[in-house]
Amino acid sequence: MYNQTEIIKDTSELGADGELVINMGPQHPATHGVLHLVVTLNGETIKKIEPHLGYIHRSIEKMCESLTYRQFIYVTSRMDYLSSHINNLGCALLVEKGMQIEVPDRAKYVRVILSELTRIASHELWLGAMAMDLGAFTPFFYAFREREMITDIMEDTCGARLTMNYIVPGGLMYDIHPDFQKKVKAFITQFKSKVTEYEDLVTNNVIFQSRTKGVGILSAEDAISYGKEMNQSIRIIEQLIDNIPEGDFVGKTKNVLKLPKGEFYTRVETARGEFGVYVVSEGGTTPHRIKFRSPGFSNLSVLNHISVGSKIGDLMASMGTLDLVIPDIDR
């Protein structure tokens, strides 16, 4: 009726020591997109992880070479779409640095507040997705309830919920919404009252702790620092929100932006690490060569290092804490 040995043969790709090679992704519930990991297993224990990239490569860097210094900013929203404000900010800072554009104080304040809000929104999503990777579905919905308040604030002011393109070289595209301060304060109150909820459900939960403690060198620290980072962001916003100065929201810029000849680099701290923009200019209206240093790519490279020797379940925990955004890795 059937031949058992034949089945084993077909299942194979068995390694030399009876290792099992499985493809996690591109379509896998825990990779949050289209990350492709080739995982070598011995039973449940991980021997090796090899990330395969290129599934959603859009050649963004090449694309930017044909866009002007005003236009290329919107593309960066499509890289790390969870911290698009901060990516836009990095690019705008580069142009301002290269051309010595003066940015009004009002724009600076709003930029910081929006960046911190973006950071909180990103971490809310991380919290929900991390809990989901570990098998708890419910915290996702609670985290999204607060994240929704932030996206509503963004929608009011920037007109979009995810890919804002609100920060332009010299300042902001248009002024903030009249309700902006009121809504941000309402969010801060709501967020503070709900933080204990996350602690009860996720960070203080004995199963969550035992799933994350000692898993990879980085993950335990991350689990703590994320929570602190959200509180710090709230503190920064609290300090700024009442003191937004009156005045212009955009500085004086020329109609056509031309970066002087040379090399330029700026960096900003996004929700998941350092984001750098490197531009080589030949003096024209478009960059000659552009390179993004995206945090997700560097974070991914540590995955093999921290996961070897742990279990499949740990891989999900490690991947969750690295907070990978695939379009950021695969530009």
Binding site: I22, F72, G135, A136, T138, G159, N205, G313
Partner: protein, 500 residues
């Protein structure tokens, strides 16, 4: 007073009157089989809906509410869909075992129905070794799962099946010990004897600390045995996609799904029987009047009430806790549920206490949301169109405002076209001759391709005469893609006087 009591004896008497004993027995068997199959179907539909509703309310959602009143027929619709779907068998699978596995899992569920007393004197088979029968038959379900995992010829399935094997075999021990506590207290293995022994108080109240500990052990162990979260390692959606039933589709998947819920019902029914007195009403000491009132509630209602309470408890666990890792799962069983490790008592007690406290805190939170339906934040989109608040700045599409005289302010300067990063806007210009005979550049058509637009707002900023703006429209879906290419200036429109 409605009661199932006596129905069984009446039916048997009638059958014996009409037929000879062998024939009567055969007919009884057929009736029992039909009844249990229909019970399966009904339970599956009810429990799946219940789970979805419980999950939704815990997660501040509404849950299914479209098919039938309050979404009552959602699971019926889902089942119909699954029946009509093609049941795929992977090419290199072991076809015989692959097709057999769901039925093995189902059969175990059916066999376990036999000794359960659904109401007073309403029991298929009151076997005298009832408890032993239950614990031996329930361990057979692992065979079906291993069969499915092995025969699928899929690595995820195999991993899931292996996990499930280790898990079910280990947790059988704790479940067995918990059940034995009640056997010792009662002095009998027979289900009806165990229920009768709880006439003047259920074991959970009467059995003091041993019975309470046994109940906690039992509820943890059966959650693990039925592969439910936080012990759903065999399926582990985020790790193994769907575990042992990754390759199953259509009705065979539905059988696995149904079997999971039947198993939950059965373990909860057994739990209710052992610890909460099965169909036995709540009796308190010598409160004669109270006991008499309690007796008026039908025994089947008592049984179902207790069972569904336990089912709710297990669902509550699932929607609160993260999943354990495979080694932690076995640690929990061998080091905490069966403390045979050489461990200091103090360390053991602190571990258990801190763990349980943190879990209870989480359950209190989810319990709060389950009971407070005003926290639900679901927006029912197509229904709330009238009250939907869209931000006036929302970037939905580019439009060109026209005034009452069908006039716009676009001069055709092509600034928007130059500002656009990806060629969404195309300005077609023409030359108009003014009455004085002067030639003037004007707009013929402003072609806007919505399918390309990234809503970056650069065109709006670039426009020197504020001729275009973003509109908060978002319902753009069309069946014909060409409809997304729009001409923004209205036919017959012209530029307003005085705009240069």
């Amino acid at each position: 007073m409605f009661s199932l009591e006596g129905i069984t004896t009446n039916v048997q008497d009638w059958l014996l009157m009409k037929f000879n004993p062998t024939m009567a027995l055969a007919i009884e068997c057929v009736i029992v089989i039909l009844l249990s199959i229909s019970l399966f179907a009904i339970l599956g539909l009810v429990l799946v809906l219940m789970e979805r509703k419980v999950a939704a309310h815990i997660q501040i959602r509404l849950g299914p509410n479209r098919v039938g009143p309050g979404g009552m027929f959602q699971t019926v619709a889902d089942t119909l869909k699954l029946i009509m779907k093609e049941g795929l068998t992977p090419d290199k699978a072991d076809k015989f075992l692959f097709n057999l596995a769901p039925f093995v899992v189902m059969m175990v569920g059916m066999l376990l129905l036999a000794p359960i007393a659904f109401a007073k004197n309403f029991q298929i088979w009151d076997i005298n070794i009832g408890v032993l029968y239950i614990s031996s038959v329930s361990s057979l379900s692992v065979i079906g799962i291993l069969m499915a995992g092995w025969a699928s010829n899929n690595k995820y399935s195999l991993l899931g099946a292996m996990r499930s094997g280790a898990q079910i075999v280990s947790y059988e021990l704790s479940a067995g010990f918990a059940v034995l506590t009640i056997v010792v207290l009662t002095g009998s293995l027979q289900i009806s004897e165990i229920i009768n022994a709880q006439q003047n108080g259920w074991w959970i109240f009467k059995g003091h600390i041993p019975a309470v500990i046994a109940f906690v052990l039992y509820i943890i162990a059966v959650t693990a045995e039925t592969n439910r979260a936080p012990f759903d390692l065999a399926e582990a959606e985020s790790e193994l996609t769907a575990g042992f039933h990754t390759e199953y589709s259509g009705m065979r998947f539905a059988l696995f799904f149904l079997a999971e819920y039947i198993n939950i019902f059965i373990v909860c029914a057994i739990g209710a029987t052992l610890f909460f007195g099965g169909w036995m009403p709540l009796h308190i000491g010598n409160w004669e009047a109270f006991n008499h009132i309690m007796d008026y509630i039908p025994s089947s209602v008592w049984f179902m009430g207790k069972t569904f309470f336990l089912i709710f408890l297990i669902m509550w666990f699932r929607w609160t806790f993260p999943r354990l890792r495979v080694d932690q799962l076995l640690n929990l069983e061998w080091k905490y549920l069966l403390p045979i490790r050489n461990m200091f008592l103090k360390e053991y007690i602190t571990d258990v206490l801190t763990g349980v406290t943190s879990l209870l805190k989480g359950m209190r939170k989810t319990g709060y949301y389950f009971t407070h339906s005003k926290e639900i934040i679901t927006e029912q989109y197509p229904d709330n169109r009238a009250t939907l608040l869209m931000s006036d700045r929302f970037k939905g599409e580019v439009v060109m405002p026209h005034d009452a005289n069908n006039e716009h302010t676009c001069t055709g300067c092509t600034a928007c076209e130059l500002a656009c990063p990806n060629g969404t806007i195309k300005v077609v210009t023409k030359f108009e001759t003014s009455p004085e005979g002067k030639k003037k550049k004007a707009i013929d058509a402003l072609v806007y391709r919505l399918e390309l637009c990234t809503m970056c707002n650069l065109c709006i900023v670039a426009c020197p005469s504020d001729a275009i703006k973003m509109a908060p429209n978002f319902e753009h879906s069309v069946f014909d893609r060409t409809k997304l290419t729009k001409v923004l200036n209205q036919p017959g429109s012209k530029i307003r006087e005085g705009i240069e």
